[in-house]
């Protein structure tokens, strides 16, 4: 059975529709929802098992959180230390203030290399700065080598998950994409056959393309090393075979000491893929003559991060190690998948990270894309209190609304402003309640329930009934009770 891959989604928070609207098209796609729920159930079950077997899991979480908090409190010093050590080991460190500068630096480096082709390891940071379209526009052919990224690239799809970017695509859809793009008519949807097709396709690229672009999971200040963790080994190929390696890393990725990997690698693998340890951990320090890439560049990307760092309540967002445990735990993500978030960073972490990276000028609907159930905070291996940051960002969105002339035409805004005036005095609250009780009688059926409400109330009654207001409130009952007692 073959399914057409849905039409191309563009993950740009500047142009993405608001979350409720984008979510609607995900909700109307049963195949997507089935794929997402199935993939998440598999990862969640694995994670529960390997986290459950760690009797010191909470201590590990606390240690990981402390390491990341310390990094953010001393970020400048650790970055300078990393730069010095990496440079001493033969690497070159570049600083990019924003996405445009990072793209320019990488393009200049590729130009110096006279590179017309690059192999790439999965890096969400490169998707954040929309690197691939910029490279293609400059005439550089980009070959994604992570299996999931390859599926997306060939299928002209966008990532929907931080760790498992093609989570929304199932096997038969992969078969369809590979058969079409690799010209393999008799391909079956047997996973072994599919990975073999990818292997054959990729081997040629690894052996012939001398320039690679990678992301990074961690930068080590103490040694100037870079760490990449992965499952497939394709990343290892990109990191070792080419002549030139360019690594793009967000400035928050640094860790103080090599020894910190002891904690971080444990929590990352268990949280991300539900493995005790990820299959491939690549660590390298600068350049080693005769071994691996001979030219090594690190591009350190700010792109809004130092602005997040400057806000104490939001700073914890940058503790994130991109394990995506919060996505897998989130009941909202489970229903919508990642594309609805309109960003390469979906799910709970995306709901707080994306609007902040956009300086709160775009993606203002994302902080509301959560029921505040707290499942994200519960699983976060570095203890980011995502609900707390969501509330902080919601307060900023409301402060933006307060400046807008049209706010009094927004029923939610108006309703909450009026409610706050009513709650300020008990008599107002009680009077409003009595009036509301009379008003709602119009909508209350004989069975005592409201089946349909107008305006914003219709958002509730589209799928749920509402019990009509009882004839006597609790405070009214208490007052009569007092009289009877006397």
């Amino acid at each position: 059975m073959s399914h057409a891959v849905p039409s191309r989604v563009v993950l740009d928070p500047r142009s993405a529709p608001p979350f409720p609207q984008a979510a609607l098209s995900a909700l109307r796609n049963p195949q997507l929802r089935k794929n997402v729920a199935h993939a998440i159930d598999v990862i969640q079950a694995k994670r529960a098992k390997v986290v459950g077997e760690k009797t010191d899991w909470q201590a590990l979480r606390a240690a990981a959180s402390a390491i990341r908090t310390n990094v953010l409190e001393n970020l400048g010093a650790y970055l300078e230390e990393f730069e010095a050590r990496c440079t001493a080991a033969g690497g070159t460190v570049h600083w990019a203030a924003d996405a445009a500068e990072a793209r320019r630096i990488i393009l200049d480096l590729l130009c110096q290399e006279k590179a017309s082709e690059v192999v790439k390891i999965k890096t969400m940071t490169s998707a954040e700065i929309q690197l691939n379209p910029a490279l293609e526009a400059a005439g550089v052919s980009v070959f994604e080598t992570d299996l999931a990224e390859l599926i997306l690239q060939l299928g002209e799809e966008e990532p929907s998950h931080i760790v498992v970017p093609a989570l929304h695509v199932n096997r038969s859809q992969v078969r369809e994409i590979f058969a079409r793009r690799m010209g393999l008519k008799n391909l079956s949807d047997d996973p072994k056959e599919l990975t073999n097709a990818a292997r054959t396709y990729l081997r040629g690229k690894f052996l012939s393309i001398p320039t690679a672009i990678s992301g990074s999971n961690f930068l080590i200040a103490e040694t100037g090393s870079v760490a990449v963790v992965e499952s497939e080994g394709n990343g290892r190929m990109c990191l070792t075979l080419p002549r030139t390696l360019i690594t793009l890393a967000g400035i928050e990725k640094v860790l103080p000491r090599f020894q910190d990997l002891e904690v971080m690698l444990q929590v990352l693998a268990r949280s991300a893929t539900g493995e005790r340890m990820n299959p491939y951990t690549s660590l390298w320090t600068g350049v080693t003559p005769g071994d691996g890439p001979q030219r090594f560049h690190v591009v350190l990307l700010d792109n809004g991060r130092s602005s997040i760092l400057s806000r104490p309540k939001q700073r914890q967002t940058l503790k994130c190690i991109r394990c995506a445990a919060c996505l897998n735990a989130c009941p909202v993500y489970r229903q919508t998948g990642g594309h609805a978030y309109g960003s390469v960073y979906p799910g709970p972490i995306g709901a707080i990270l994306t609007p902040q990276l956009m300086h709160m000028e775009h993606a203002q609907s994302l902080p509301y894309a959560s029921s505040l159930c707290g499942a994200c905070y519960e699983v976060c291996p570095v203890k980011i209190n995502i609900p707390e940051v969501l509330l902080e960002l919601r307060a900023q969105v409301v402060n933006q609304e307060r400046q807008q002339a049209g706010r009094f035409f927004d029923p939610m805004y108006l309703g909450l402003r009026i409610a706050s005036l009513l709650f300020a005095r008990a008599w107002r609250f009680h009077a409003a309640h009595r009036l509301g009780r009379i008003g709602l009688r119009l909508f209350t059926r004989k069975d005592g329930w409201i089946h349909s409400l107008p305006g914003i109330g219709a958002k509730w009654t589209q799928t749920r009934d509402l019990r009509g207001l009882p004839g006597q409130s609790f405070h009214e009952w208490w007052a009569t009770r007092g009289k009877e007692a006397k």
């Binding site: 009941p331 505040l372 159930c373 519960e378 909450l416 958002k459 589209q462 609790f474 009952w477």
Partner: protein, 250 residues
């Protein structure tokens, strides 16, 4: 033992039978109840939607109304979570040191209903009878914010005649989330549909919780779908006796 009942705005207006059940239950256990007539709302709806200044006004009001109380009992886990988790930040942000100190003194005396019964009164068997099959919905704030743990289960285990049904994926959100249910009505409804399926699969007669906001959401969908189940706040189960079963509601 004296306790002041903070009924919460939506229990007051939408679910007065829950309040009456709390009164019956606690008075039966010998608690002398007070009701502060000037109470309105804890500010949760405002704080969770981003109206921080408005939430602060409610937080201030709560502290002023209850600072003299011996204990405060609240039959709504999300409102207690609001007070416990969000008030400190509000007082700190708005720089009211005196209020912050008063609140810090009051906070240890503020209890959610199951906490009050087990931690403060030290009872698990409240002398209730409720001969029905009941599914307990562990609402998000109860599980993850208040960390109620097995308290609700211990209380239900001692109710005569009650048969407890376990809900699959018990700790997954029902999709209410306050204004989320309206701002993201479609996603909220999708979450609700999944949750309802899990709850209905228990074939229980009642679904109970320590928070009427989840129950309003679940009950609204049960009524819409003619499900063979009703919702009931746990206070009403715990107040119920052979002679005096829970009051009928529409």
């Amino acid at each position: 033992m004296r306790a002041s009942l903070f009924i919460t705005c939506y229990n007051d207006t939408l679910f007065p039978e829950t309040g009456r059940a709390v009164v019956r239950l606690l008075e039966r256990l010998g608690v002398e109840l007070e009701f502060q007539p000037r109470q309105t709302c804890c500010g949760q709806m405002h704080a969770n939607t981003g109206f921080r200044g408005e939430a602060f006004a409610q937080a201030k009001r709560f502290v002023r109304l209850y600072r003299e109380a011996e204990t405060v009992v609240i039959p709504s886990s999300s409102c207690v979570a609001m007070i416990r988790d969000q008030y400190p930040g509000l007082f700190e942000e708005l720089g009211n040191e005196a209020l912050r100190r008063e609140f810090a003194a009051l906070l240890p005396r503020v209890y959610e209903l199951s906490e009050f019964l087990i931690d403060r009164l030290g009872v698990e068997d409240v002398g209730a009878t409720f001969p029905h099959r009941v599914a307990y919905h562990a609402s998000c704030h109860g599980v993850r914010a208040l960390c109620l743990g097995d308290r609700p289960y211990r209380l239900l285990a001692k109710v005569r005649g009650l048969e407890l049904a376990e809900i699959p994926n018990a700790e997954r959100c029902c999709g209410f989330g306050g204004t989320f249910s309206v701002k993201n009505a479609e996603v909220s409804s999708a979450m609700l549909a999944v949750k309802l399926q899990d709850i209905v699969s228990t074939r229980a007669e009642y679904c109970t919780a320590l928070d009427n906001s989840c129950l309003m959401h679940l009950g609204g969908a049960m009524h819409r779908q003619y499900a063979a189940m009703r919702t009931i706040h746990m206070a009403q189960i715990l107040a119920s006796t052979e002679d005096c079963p829970p009051e009928a509601t529409p």
